[in-house]
């Protein structure tokens, strides 16, 4: 257990460093029983507690509430069972996403959801945030890959939700817990689906003289009925940052946008789709269309994309990674508008998108030590969200709501639609002790509580 202020400093935020809080202690359970014991003790002493994995979350889902106990699950790293016949694995929550895929690779299997932080982020955190990644386009976010969960409830008891064979009977509470951001309990084990490694994988890199034709190529690929495994876009600022970094991937430096398109499946189908994708890119004014020669070059293409956030770390001490979704067809105008608005704030945005999903990641590099700049960054962040929502989009594609976007939920949901979420919250966590203040905004008037429930829905944060 850590409790000295100097030791606690690193736990004051997750990867969203804009939001901070001071825990009173950090504990490192290794088993379900230990998590349960910690939770029971927190209840006894009326302390809030916040589950945490690797701390790579980008929406403040693991930001400590003042004086809480951080239940750090990163030492729960055991892969408990792998069932190759039924293609599933049961793991503790601290197992690192990429480690699971590496572990089952000899069986010809992998775990499909792949956040860009896959080499650091944990399965428990992925479950909490319903994380996505480049391959969400074809394989979906975390939820459809989670078969069953073991949960320590906010009062300390242990329950099992869902079934390892995927046959859900009764209410699908498994689905409610995925994406509930640790507000309904702490995941202590997850049974996840494994999928066969595709027989053939190809990656195509296409560079464009402007953003608009690249976006049009994306729409044309989807319209042709092709579902690429991934369809990623990076703008010129991202390309420049990547190529100047250790993640340099050979992206053409003179391009205004590059598309990284991965196709997987049977050799014949992949070959046909590659040819079609290359044709579509050329028809949309691509400067260059290049297919990875081999697995090594394919990995280099990806190294640049997955290292993009790291590469931007060279530009300034802090990075604010946004995560919003707009209808795919509206990507060009939205990006254009964000760029212009950012210029008005004297800030520069670098864009990385899961273009196939319309999932936008505008990245703001800044220096938190400059309070005036910080204020501009916050105001621009809010404006970016409003622009995306005005274009028919939503708050988050894959990073979750967390603390960052909790109050923006009202931009998308009426009070009457938020109410049932509060009922579910309050029935699981009536004392509001389990990661309080995340995901669901508190009612407008804090004194109003639903007469159905014992506890008032007062969010403390």
């Amino acid at each position: 257990m850590l409790h000295r202020p100097s030791d606690l400093f690193v736990y004051e935020s997750d990867a969203l460093t804009l939001l901070r809080g001071r825990p009173c202690a950090v504990v490192f359970p290794e088993t379900t029983d230990e998590v349960s014991a910690v939770v029971r003790l927190c209840n006894e002493y009326e302390l809030p507690f916040v589950p945490r994995g690797a701390g790579t979350g980008l929406s403040g889902g693991a930001t400590p509430v003042e004086g809480c106990v951080i239940v750090e699950c990163s030492r729960m790293t055991r892969i408990l069972e792998v069932d190759a016949t039924n293609r599933c694995a049961t793991v503790q929550p601290g197992v690192i996403n990429a480690h699971l895929s590496e572990f089952v690779a000899p069986l010809g299997l992998h775990y499909a959801p792949d956040p860009s932080s896959e080499s650091a982020c944990t399965i428990g955190g992925n479950v909490a945030e319903n994380s996505g990644g480049p391959h969400t386009l074809k394989y979906g976010t975390t939820s459809p890959h989670v078969l069953a969960l073991e949960i320590v409830l906010p009062e300390g008891s242990v329950v099992h939700l869902g079934r390892g064979d995927g046959h859900h009977l009764g209410y699908d509470l498994r689905g409610v817990f995925v994406g509930s951001e640790g507000t309904l309990g702490i995941v202590t084990a997850a049974t996840v689906r494994l999928v066969p490694i595709p027989e053939r994988i190809e990656a195509v890199l296409a560079s464009f003289p402007a953003l608009v034709p690249a976006c049009e190529a994306v729409s044309a690929i989807i319209a042709e009925g092709i579902v690429p495994a991934a369809l990623e876009m990076m703008d010129d600022r991202t390309i420049a940052a990547v190529e100047a970094s250790v993640y340099a991937a050979g992206y053409p430096r003179d391009a205004k946008a590059v598309l990284l398109i991965e196709l997987d499946g049977t050799p014949e189908a992949v070959e046909d789709e590659c040819v079609a994708v290359e044709r579509i890119c050329r028809a949309h004014s691509a400067i260059e269309v290049r297919r990875a020669r081999d697995a090594e070059e394919r990995q280099a293409f990806w190294r640049g994309r997955k290292g993009a956030f790291g590469a931007m770390g060279r530009l300034a001490p802090d990075l604010y990674v946004h995560d919003a979704v707009v209808p795919r067809t509206r990507l060009p105008e939205v990006v254009d508008r964000i760029t212009r608005v950012a210029e008005g704030y004297g800030l520069r945005v670098a864009n990385v998108f899961h273009a196939g999903d319309g999932n936008l990641h505008p990245n703001l590099s800044f220096d938190q030590r400059d309070p005036e700049m910080l204020s501009r960054v916050r105001r621009l962040g809010e404006e970016i969200l409003r622009i995306c929502i005005e274009a028919g989009g939503v708050l988050s594609g894959e990073h979750g709501i967390g603390l960052e976007k909790r109050d923006y939920m009202r931009l998308l949901f009426g009070e009457e639609d938020l109410e049932p979420m509060r009922w579910v919250h309050d029935t699981f966590d009536p004392e509001d002790r389990c990661n309080p203040g995340k995901a669901i905004p508190s009612p407008r008037a804090c004194t109003e509580s639903n007469p159905r429930h014992r506890g008032a829905a007062v969010v403390r944060f």
Copy 2:
């Protein structure tokens, strides 16, 4: 509104005629507001209410609780919106499953979940039961196809769950409602995913001299990495019933089992898979392997399968269609055991399976007017469930828990895992007025109520 006893008779059960109850009235709302008004009135008069679609359910999900009001949604038949670009449609709950696919066929789209009752069952009922069908193997049950729901809650207010664009933020309550069997509210509109009609569809019919090699062929197909759109099996008794009926499909009458395998996708991939499937069936002693010459013959193959339950209606006045799941590899021994046990009861079982899923439908033809026979049918039904669960299976593949299997939930769930389901139930329906007694068994001791909740979880049925 119907209220005369003679008019109410037909509403005493759904398609599970073994279980009956007498409603006090049946109402036919046409709009969300009317459903809400009916629900508010029921609350005012403290009457339980039971939502009902086409009454094709096979687990007693729409069995009336004594003296209830049936909220019959079959007149809510409007297709409210079709969005071809984003591939979704918003429909009222009374829209018949197959009608939706017919309506959107000119756009090259269809609604994938296809219960065998697709020509009669409604989308609202499908949502309530999380229904499956032959194409569940490749496309999943109803849940992944439901993007958003409009619900009248048990108290009468209207809420919206999920989003039409599929981006779920906050808790995934959409997922909880799908499969909740009308116990948490009444679906008044559903936005569902539409998928492109596959470019090529082929059907292969293979007949076998015994059940075991047919089952082995199924496992071999899946092991080869092929995911057929459907992989159905019928035994000799089913074949005989079908071939003697108006649904005659040209199934070989001397076979002990036939497999109906549908493959869909791009022409090249489908051709490759067809060849592989045909090879595998022959290698597993198939007597005959036949590919449908054209769409017409393919439809004939399916007519027999989808008409199988109807065909069995010729054998006796009543039919009890079971629905359990066993690990695919254990199908032969389980079927063999069920057959022998049935013989012990002097009953004959005809088997239809979604073999790819291990989803078994043992069908018992009987005459309900014979109380002694009825008692044997009930006892055999229970024994079938126990056999399947002993083999590592579950209670239901696609027909839901309903009233029929509610108390058997304890065979699969401990009290501590049922508790969270009851919390969710009680927070939405604290008076236990909305389709009471379905899906979730009441606590062992009815006087025990969770201190978190106002209402005790007393099931009245």
